[in-house]
């Protein structure tokens, strides 16, 4: 597939070059037109508390619905437009992720984490505009199309055992949604290249030039996402985001460097990406870089007496930002996060945004009110339990705002492959280690039991509990199923994956409000931040060890079967070539009594045992032999 893709890449490259030149020549004045297609590129940089830096690339292409243009697009990737047209996609989200989002250190309730923290591997969900009966076929075709487009094994989501129909988790109470995840899919450059191909400038100009493969794949988290929304009114909106967490180069002197309260590492774009940013993609309507300082840093700055300044005794932001955008939040006494905006327009002078820390400083990211984790219980290869636990992070901001009677809602969405046979009636919920009556805690539940080799099991659950609760835990017992030898995946001895569970907090939103009128800023990324996104977190992928057969077993079975067959045919031939008439005459001539075959043989043998006529020693012998045989076989 990779080779195929590469061939296509070459071809596409030519096409893109041609289209680029055409568009820049002919439609140069047409790009800025609001009515037509648009492309924007933005990059958000944010220092993280654990000495890392978050870089969030956001590319957005829009194609307005224009029946005149037909199949032709100027900026918008044709492949995507065709996809939308062919499969009648209303919404689609595809993410490729490597590494895990660290909800404790990198934040759990800000817009970035709630929209861009994804489970490891591939996750895909889509809603369609087609009649209900056609959805499954459309989904299958879509997985194949995406698989070819992104050089990955998304086509494994085609099988009905791997996707499911969530009913209320994604907030949309619709039946035309399909959801699937491939936790074992490895993510690498061969997935990034086709993703970059969808950008009008690819990685030849603009912010995408920063994507130096060795530096971005060396990071701690790498999630590339493609989000498609298509409506009759606004046309197709394609958001491509790449979220990476990088560790700026630090001189590691000793393990104790952190204990001594060392200064956070200073970084700049060129030091992190090993590339210089010169100029924007000419086709982009806007190209800007934003640097965000979290509110905990800002509050520290305010303490020190420099409110929104970018050059102070704590840190030094260089070069000087074009604009400062401040967040407004409902609690006026609190500090808010600040965005520093840079416009990437200079073509000859590299824009090297960076932060230089001057003082040692420790802060923490905003947490979601509950930290979700999931683990397996029990041992052995027969049964076990899945436990999902929500542990209060005591993020005071939320609790301060609410009275004691407040009630927390948590939606748990868990898909389990069919070979992990979950017994949903064993669901137990512990709140603060006390077993709860299910009806008191569960507000809504929907269970689709798994069907062998057909359907995965799906659990959707809305929990309601007081905000002051310390911990919530769910347990579900399961049996490990037996598989046919051909159903085992490659590397079956590693175990089987259970995809990440999704825990959302529907009454919490990660929206932000910024000062300043939208017309002046007009940033799709900031608009995105202002959307009401539900706070959510993905749990770990679980690895369930299974009983695996000895995969050389087929060979044993073949040899065994052959032996049995040989014995069978041997005795059959023996019977056939026997002269029965002759033997009968022989029997008749002797005074052979009318005994069955087995007693006859038995009496023959026992008579030979020193002329003793009974059959007991043979019996004992046979029993012991069979025990021995069984033992040897095992």
């Amino acid at each position: 597939m990779a080779a195929l893709c590469r061939r296509f890449t070459g071809f596409h490259f030519l096409l893109v070059l041609v289209s680029l030149s055409i568009s820049s020549l002919v439609f140069g004045d047409w790009i800025g037109d609001d009515e037509g297609e648009q492309f924007t590129e933005e990059l958000l940089l944010k220092p993280l508390p654990d000495r890392k830096v978050l870089a969030h690339f956001h590319f957005q292409s829009t194609a307005h619905p224009s029946p005149d243009s037909g199949h032709h697009h100027h900026l918008f990737p044709k492949a995507i437009a065709q996809l939308v047209q062919k499969f009648q996609i209303r919404d689609l989200e595809l993410s490729f992720t490597q590494g895990r989002w660290n909800y404790e250190n990198w934040g759990g309730s800000d817009p970035i984490s709630s929209t861009n923290a994804k489970p490891p591997g591939v996750e895909l969900w889509a809603t369609f505009n087609v009649p209900v009966v056609e959805i499954d076929t459309t989904w299958k075709n879509l997985t194949h199309a995406l698989s070819g487009l992104f050089c990955s094994s998304i086509n494994f989501l085609e099988s009905s055992t791997s996707y499911t129909t969530p009913s209320f988790v994604f907030g949309l109470n619709v039946s035309n949604i399909r959801y699937g995840a491939l936790p074992r899919e490895a993510v690498c450059t061969e997935n990034l290249t086709p993703w970059l191909k969808l950008l009008p400038c690819r990685d030849k100009a603009g912010l995408a030039t920063l994507l130096d493969r060795p530096s971005i794949y060396k990071g701690y988290y790498h999630s590339q996402k493609l989000r498609l929304t298509s409506t009759k009114l606004s046309g197709i909106i394609l958001e491509q985001t790449l979220t990476i967490v990088l560790q700026p180069n630090i001189q590691r002197n000793s393990a104790h460097s952190l204990l001594d309260g060392a200064i956070q590492p200073s970084w700049s774009i060129s030091s992190m990406f090993k590339r210089n940013l010169t100029g924007s993609c000419v086709l982009a309507r806007t190209s800007r870089i934003l640097v965000e300082l979290e509110k905990n840093i800002v509050s520290k700055l305010e303490e020190l007496g420099h409110g929104g300044s970018w050059s102070n005794s704590l840190l030094d932001l260089s070069p000087n930002p074009f604009r400062v955008i401040k967040e407004v939040n409902p609690f006026p006494e609190e500090s808010n996060s600040i965005l520093f905006e840079y416009v990437n327009s200079k073509e000859y002078e590299p824009l090297d945004v960076g932060i230089k820390w001057k003082l040692p400083f420790v802060w923490s990211s905003p947490h979601a009110p509950f930290h979700a984790s999931r683990f397996l219980m029990g041992s052995g290869t027969e049964r076990g339990s899945i436990a999902i636990s929500l542990q209060s992070t005591k993020s005071d901001e939320y609790f301060r705002s609410k009275s004691n009677e407040c009630r927390m809602q948590a939606v748990v969405f868990q898909v389990v492959p069919w070979y992990v046979k979950v017994y949903y009636h064993t669901l137990q919920i512990f709140i603060d280690q006390k077993l709860q009556n299910l009806s008191d805690v569960i507000e809504k539940i929907r269970v689709t039991p798994s069907e062998d080799k057909k359907l995965p099991g799906t659990l959707e659950l809305v929990l309601g509990y007081p905000c002051t609760v310390q911990s919530v835990a769910l347990t579900l017992d399961f049996d490990k199923g037996f598989l046919h030898i051909h159903e085992y995946p490659p590397d079956a001895n590693q175990g089987f994956d259970i995809p990440s569970a999704l825990v959302t907090f529907p009454n919490l939103h990660s929206s932000r409000i910024y000062i300043g009128d939208d017309s002046s800023v007009h940033s799709p990324l900031l608009l995105k931040f202002q959307e009401k996104n539900v706070v959510l977190s993905y749990t770990e992928v679980l690895l369930v060890p299974f009983t695996t057969p000895d995969f050389s077993m087929p060979y044993n079975v073949i040899t065994f079967t052959c032996t049995v067959l040989a014995l069978y045919f041997g005795s059959l031939l023996n019977v056939l070539r026997r002269r029965i008439g002759e033997e009968e005459r022989l029997m008749r001539s002797k005074d052979a009594t009318k005994r069955g075959l087995i007693p006859l043989i038995v009496s023959k043998i026992t008579s030979k045992l020193r002329g003793m006529p009974r059959s007991k020693p043979l019996l004992i012998f046979a029993v012991v032999l069979s025990v021995l045989f069984h033992y040897i076989v095992n």
């Binding site: 490891p120 290869t381 636990s389 590693q494 060890p545 023959k604 045992l609 003793m612």
Partner: protein, 700 residues
């Protein structure tokens, strides 16, 4: 032709038509005496030859690739280790409280940017419960009503999340130390553990998470590790451990030392997990002087003779010998190293093998006398520890959760107080552990390629299940043959109602087994009684058991006389054969040792009063019977083993109780074997030996 010779060839015709296999069976049964002598001798000889038949180990799983990367463990890490060692010793000297070191370790773990938490638990004694054999006891709920403050154990645990990994699998490192009495070697082993941990926190190749458990082994390292594992695989929900332990308890005792914990917040007690365990390494440093080189001892035996995958031992051995130049040792029994008969045997074998090699140079049975002696001693220890069913270290706790684990015990050449010696030693051990972890990290699947059933005869030589089953099979092969022979001979002699007589014998055998089963459960009842010393427990146990036996005999007397000793022996032999075969599946070593005692006894036993032709033959039979009966009695066997292997001191009857206690507290199947199979077999043999030879049973 057939018509002509019909009359005189009828007998022959029948014979020729019967199946070959049946004829062979009949032949074996007819010559059961010869067969049993030959088989027993062959079985024992083949068993003695096992060190000669051992193969060289090889790394079976290609993905492991041990030693293919240069170790990154440098002097920087050695400095880290030294600093922690010094810190522990200083703080340990200043304060002898249990949690001081755990606190220090947590500080260090947090400093390298890893996650960390405290694991707190109350140790509980392993009680005998008759229904808990083979099941991991999960009685988490019966906490003591009012645990005292000092009885808690606090372990520091650190977790490195692999930067680009998906967190499905994890490698566990365990460094046990004693918080009450921290020795210098404890501190060094913690130093090594930390330096590896800090190295792994910034390597780029990590694919599996790393968990470092600094286990406070105040109440035994197995208890600590087992309790941590139980929580890892059990419903230890966040916050539960902190709920169990009353924080006030700590505040009263160590108000100042816990300040730091308080500052760090509630989360430091939240139990954290990291995926399915791929392998575990227990690291220890022992400050005993080695002769010429730093050495590494590998301990691998877990409960009931379970072993980790051979590949895990192989990579540790390969890296230690070929990369770091350490001397690798595995346990051996000193008696065999010194015994002159073993040496003699070795020399004989050496001559034979050189002779065999001269005959055919392709034969690879080449062994020197010294090799043989060492192989025998190592094999004996391997068999002994597997047969005992008691793990040789805290790695045994991992095996209960199907995790491959070994204990690596390092001992330096000279005292660790010397700065240069310590640095060189730390560098070697650190690089070795890094290499092992890197190999396990390379592993895509869990360990499955290599052997799980094997004995080691040297660190680089193993005897696999395919080889060691053969002597055992040969050894127990005569049992069914002799049983069949006895049965048929008895049936031939008494024709009247002999066909169902064996049921009576079976009844006797069954009741004796039932008695043995009740005896095995007696300790559960006895433990409820307020008996003081082990010796009083042991005598009570013996007394009650003998009482029950006598009652059984009162009931059985008539039927046991009635059925005749041959039938009794035949059924007993069948029961013993089945029992041994079952046991060899559960714990091979126990079955092998048991078979060497039981099989000759079962085959040879005859009533003492039975008439035999020669006086000499009778005397020989009597003495051999008596000797075997004495040797095969479990307490007697224990005594003999004790005196033979040089354990001095007076022998007390309470020893047996303590010994049995060890077996059941570790859920050892050997306990069940001894009381369910071995003891009834011995009682029945004794019964046959003392058989009053009257009636139809005695047949010259």
């Amino acid at each position: 032709m057939a018509v002509k010779e019909e009359g005189d060839t009828s007998q022959q015709g029948k014979k020729s038509r019967s199946r070959l296999i049946l004829r062979l069976g009949a032949l074996l049964v007819a010559h059961s005496g010869l067969v049993s002598v030959v088989c027993c001798a062959a079985g024992i000889i083949a068993f003695i030859l096992l060190p000669v038949l051992a193969n060289n180990t090889y790394i079976s799983e290609n993905a492991l690739m041990p030693g293919s990367a240069d170790p990154a463990f440098s002097s920087q890490e050695v400095l880290d280790a030294n600093r922690l060692t010094m810190d522990i010793l200083n703080r340990g000297a200043a304060k002898a409280s249990g949690i001081e070191i755990a606190k220090l370790l947590r500080e260090y773990i947090v400093a390298v940017g890893a996650e960390s938490y405290y694991h707190k638990f109350v140790p509980r004694a392993n009680k005998f419960h008759p229904l808990h054999f083979f099941s991991s006891t999960t009685d988490n709920l019966d906490l003591p009503a009012n645990p005292s403050c000092g009885s808690f154990i606090l372990n520091a645990v650190g977790i490195i999340r692999a930067p680009r990994g998906d967190g499905k699998e994890t490698i566990v490192l365990v460094t046990p130390y004693n918080s009450q009495n921290t020795t210098y070697s404890d501190a060094v082993s913690l130093g090594i553990g930390f330096s590896i941990f800090s190295l792994l926190s910034h390597v780029t190749w990590l694919a599996k998470d790393i968990v470092w458990l600094a286990a406070d082994s105040r109440y035994g390292e197995y208890t600590t590790v087992d309790s941590w594992l139980k929580d890892y695989h059990g419903p230890a929900f966040p916050g539960e451990t902190s709920r169990i332990v009353d924080d006030a308890c700590f505040e009263e005792n160590n108000s100042d030392s816990l300040d730091h914990i308080k500052v760090e917040g509630h989360n430091s007690y939240v139990y954290k997990r990291a995926g399915t365990m791929a392998a575990a390494l227990v690291l220890k440093v022992v400050d005993k002087k080695e002769e010429e080189r730093d050495s590494l001892s590998i301990y691998a035996e877990a409960s009931n003779g379970q072993m980790p995958n051979l590949d895990l031992i192989n990579i540790a051995h390969y890296l230690a010998v070929h990369r770091q130049g350490l001397r690798v040792k595995i346990g051996s029994i000193i008696y065999f190293l010194k015994a002159s008969w073993v040496k003699l045997l070795g020399e004989m074998l050496q001559h034979i093998t050189t002779l065999a090699k001269r005959l055919n140079p392709k034969w690879k049975f080449d062994i020197t006398s010294a090799d043989y002696v060492e192989g025998t001693a190592t094999l004996a220890s391997s068999i002994y520890y597997q047969a005992l069913g008691v793990p040789t270290g805290s790695h045994g706790a991992f095996r209960n959760y199907q995790v491959d684990a070994v204990t690596l015990e390092f001992s330096p050449r000279s005292s660790l107080n010397n700065e240069n010696v310590r640095s060189a030693f730390l560098l070697k051990t650190g690089r070795l552990i890094e290499g092992v972890i890197r190999s396990v990290n390379n592993l895509l699947e869990k360990f499955h390629q290599s052997f799980f059933l094997y004995f080691l005869t040297a660190p680089h030589k193993y005897v696999s299940v395919g080889i060691y089953m053969i002597p055992f099979g040969i050894l127990i092969a005569p049992l069914p043959i002799v049983a069949a022979a006895l049965f048929s001979s008895n049936n031939g002699s008494s024709n009247k109602d002999g066909s169902w007589k064996w049921l009576q014998a079976a009844k006797v055998v069954f009741l004796i087994h039932l008695w043995a089963m009740i005896t095995s459960l007696l300790p559960y009842v006895l433990l409820q009684l307020p008996l003081g010393t082990p010796s009083s427990f042991a005598s009570a146990w013996a007394a009650v058991a003998i009482c029950f036996l006598l009652i059984t005999y009162l009931i059985l007397w008539s039927s046991s006389i009635d059925c005749g000793w041959e039938l009794l022996k035949s059924v007993m032999i069948v029961a013993a054969a089945i029992g041994l075969s079952l046991m060899s599946v559960i714990n091979f070593s126990t079955a092998q040792i048991g078979a060497m005692l039981i099989v000759p006894m079962c085959l040879l036993v005859k009533p003492a009063r039975k008439q035999t032709q020669g006086v000499f033959a009778k005397a020989l039979m009597l003495t051999s019977n008596l000797a075997l009966l004495v040797v095969a009695f479990p307490p007697a066997a224990l005594l003999i083993a004790k005196t033979l292997f040089g354990a001095s001191g007076n022998i007390d009857i309470g020893d047996f109780w303590e010994w049995a206690q060890i077996l059941w507290s570790w859920n050892s199947a050997t306990y069940m074997y001894l009381l369910w199979i071995h003891l009834p077999c011995w009682v029945l043999c004794l019964n046959i030996f003392l058989y009053p030879c009257i009636g139809s049973s005695s047949k010259a």
